[in-house]
């Protein structure tokens, strides 16, 4: 009998990257405008936080989120967001259209994992601009933290590896959320709330979780940490990077372990939802 052939996933992904780049280059002006508009949004955002830090030294007493710590946090948010926007956002957005018009048919015919195919086939290269901006902000802020006279930050290779690992975890959690939400459009027929939902979610995820840990913020904190674990996404890598003193504290360790559990859990759940949803696919008329 035939030996099972596996589609070369990495090679296919490279072709996705290549084809998307070719496409973006075809519409040069669109590419440039997208880069500029997303960069200006980032700059405005940064300006806003600079203003806030001209009124206060840190976010809340004893949270450890001073100006540059917070900028590490902010660049972490940007890293994760641009990653998701580059790889998954255009596809999740298109998924809803594929279902409504019945073009998912073609994806289902291909001898390759359907979730892989629809999650990655388009890549938005213009997100690179923001990614580089985030890189500059990150390096500058970490350098500031390392150069400050009192309690300077010492950066180990282990910390960098850990940071990258949790960045990846964050991306997986957000991806899982996004694809689960997109998959619901199979049942709903149409789901246009994707962008809105994304905005709400990232709005909660882009602040240090200490903000929520008092008063009536606690239920929110609980909801967005343990039920829909978006608070973990940025908080864990950013805290490990910017506040290594707290690295050994039980709460940080607990969060770090929980982040791994949340990542695996979200991914498994999203896979389940996606597969279930595909069973209900009806395919629009020809």
């Amino acid at each position: 009998m035939t030996t099972a052939k596996r589609a070369p996933y990495l090679q296919v992904f490279k072709t996705f990257l290549r084809n998307s780049l070719v496409r973006e280059m075809t519409f040069r002006s669109n590419f440039v405008i997208q880069c500029i508009s997303s960069l200006s949004w980032t700059v405005m955002n940064l300006g806003f936080y600079l203003l806030i830090f001209s009124h206060a030294d840190q976010i809340g007493p004893d949270t450890g989120w001073g100006k540059y710590e917070f900028f590490v946090f902010l660049s972490t948010t940007m890293f994760i967001n641009t990653f998701v926007q580059a790889f998954f956002m255009p596809n999740a957005q298109e998924f809803s259209e594929l279902i409504r018009r019945g073009n998912l048919d073609f994806a289902l015919l291909k001898p390759i994992d359907t979730q892989f195919l629809i999650s990655l086939s388009k890549v938005e290269w213009s997100a690179c601009a923001n990614f580089m901006a985030a890189g500059v902000l990150f390096i500058f802020s970490v350098w500031q933290l390392m150069a400050r006279p009192e309690n300077p930050l010492s950066l180990s290779w282990f910390a960098i590896v850990l940071y990258l690992f949790y960045l990846a975890c964050g991306v997986v959690i957000l991806y899982s959320l996004m694809i689960s939400l997109a998959a619901t459009s199979i049942w709903l027929g149409r789901n246009q709330s994707l962008y809105n939902f994304w905005f709400y979610i990232t709005n909660f995820a882009r602040y240090p979780m200490e903000i929520y840990q008092q008063g009536w913020g606690l239920p929110l904190w609980f909801l967005f940490t343990f039920i829909v674990p978006v608070l973990v996404v940025v908080n864990v890598p950013a805290r490990l990077m910017a506040q290594p003193v707290a690295e050994t504290s039980p709460s940080t360790t607990f969060l770090a372990v929980f982040a791994v559990v949340a990542t695996v859990g979200s991914f498994v759940a999203s896979r389940w939802i996606f597969t279930r949803a595909l069973l209900s696919y009806r395919s629009a008329s020809s």
């Binding site: 009998m1 035939t2 030996t3 099972a4 052939k5 596996r6 589609a7 070369p8 090679q11 296919v12 072709t15 996705f16 290549r18 084809n19 070719v22 496409r23 075809t26 519409f27 018009r101 019945g102 073009n103 998912l104 048919d105 073609f106 289902l108 015919l109 291909k110 001898p111 390759i112 359907t114 195919l117 069973l279 696919y281 009806r282 395919s283 008329s285 020809s286």
Partner: protein, 410 residues
């Protein structure tokens, strides 16, 4: 003795397709190329497979035997029902619909039985919404059936197993799968990777297909800049790059001009004859069907109403002949109503529709009463007969049992 020979032939024919699953064998067949005569290789296969069949029979391997007897495509009582939200007119009703919804069951396919052998080119005919496309979608595993079973090359389509998905293709005239903003070439390369086609074989197949369809110079042009006909050709190439053994075509010539239609027909005919692949086609153009398919399956309201040859439709469903008479100069054209329905009178010619059984008797009477210079007796146009079949069946559809109408051709 005759029965034995027949079953033997059938067994070896369908086991041919079973045997093709072997990877090495498949590669060598495809390696034989498009222009090489496949008869030689298929003869060798027949001998080999017959031997295998006999051996397995001797060994008492019943499952293998059953598999060898299977048709390439087997459909049993296949049914698909959709639940559709019944929207009512008006704002008030729409608001009520938010809380209380009424649903209607739409039976797109109701109990279809069909067997297709390897190498057949079968057309599905039927009006819009008859269930043709739904059947093709079920067979490609895009949607799940409500009831019934189907196997294609031994696979259950809706399990969506990769070994199955590598062996068939679906082309839809109204949908496109190529990247809109990129040259078709880029989409082809992606297909090569997804279907694991070796680079050398990919290039060979691509060259052959683009030469046959005459699109070699369009490969580098973005798909959005191609005409509808050119795009359809590209879609066909994309679907055939992995050399599928079964091809489902859903209205591949829809919206195309006569030249493009003809070109695609020619291509399909040539390709099917060379490669001996199995094709199921749906089309509204009778010319497609007449040019390509020996076997026609008429589907209406989700059921098979007819299964046989195209000309057989006229024999089975039309009880009339069209008789054209040319009268002599002095003859008066009158009193024709008693022979049949008068379709048109343009002196000196008249056209009458006469019941098939009465053609000879009526003609004799007419010939003796009038001075006739010329007579033409012909079948009514095929498209008209088919239109009548659709309309006729639609009328008393509900009391019908699908099995009464389907005539499975063996």
């Amino acid at each position: 003795m005759r029965i034995m020979a027949d079953s033997y032939a059938r067994r070896s024919r369908s086991s041919d397709s079973y045997f093709r699953r072997n990877k090495d064998f498949q590669t060598s067949l495809n390696g034989a190329g498009l222009y090489q005569n496949p008869v030689i290789s298929s003869n060798v296969v027949h001998v080999l497979v017959s031997l295998l069949g006999i051996l397995s029979l001797c060994a008492g391997q019943l499952p293998t035997y059953n598999r060898l007897l299977m048709s390439l495509i087997e459909i049993k009582n296949l049914a698909k029902t959709y639940r559709v939200y019944q929207k009512k007119e008006g704002l008030g009703a729409s608001l009520r619909g938010l809380f209380h919804r009424e649903y209607r069951e739409v039976q797109a396919v109701r109990g279809i039985n069909l067997r297709v052998e390897q190498g057949e080119f079968v057309a599905f005919l039927g009006p819009n919404g008859a269930g043709k496309t739904t059947t093709l979608k079920l067979l490609s595993g895009v949607i799940n059936p409500t009831e019934g079973s189907a196997t294609v090359m031994g696979h259950i389509p809706w399990k969506r197993e990769n070994p199955y998905r590598r062996r068939f293709a679906l082309v839809m005239g109204q949908k496109n799968q190529l990247w809109w903003d990129l040259p078709a070439q880029e989409s082809f390369r992606l297909h090569q990777q997804i279907y694991c086609v070796e680079p050398a074989r990919f290039q060979r197949t691509l060259d052959e297909l683009s030469e046959l369809l005459d699109v070699g110079n369009l490969m580098k042009q973005p798909v959005r800049e191609l005409s509808l006909g050119e795009r359809m050709k590209m879609e066909l190439i994309a679907a055939l790059l992995h050399s599928p053994e079964v091809l489902f075509l859903d209205e591949p010539t829809i919206g195309l001009d006569v030249v493009a239609q003809h070109k695609i027909q020619q291509f399909l005919k040539f390709y099917q004859e060379k490669r001996k692949i199995t094709i199921l086609l749906t089309s509204h153009y009778m010319k497609d069907v007449a040019a390509l398919c020996k076997r026609v399956v008429v589907i209406n309201q989700g059921q098979i109403q007819y299964d046989g040859s195209l000309t057989g439709i006229v024999d089975q469903f039309s009880g009339h002949k069209i008789v054209t008479l040319q009268f002599g100069k002095d003859d008066s054209i009158s009193g024709l109503e008693r022979f049949g329905e008068v379709l048109e009178i343009q002196p000196p010619k008249a056209k009458i529709r006469i019941e098939r059984t009465r053609v000879a008797k009526n003609l004799a009477t007419i010939l003796s009463d009038h001075s006739i210079e010329d007579v033409v007796v012909e079948d009514p146009p095929l498209e008209q007969v088919i239109a009548e079949v659709f309309a006729q069946v639609g009328g008393h559809e509900d009391q019908d049992n699908p099995d009464e109408h389907s005539r499975v051709m063996d």
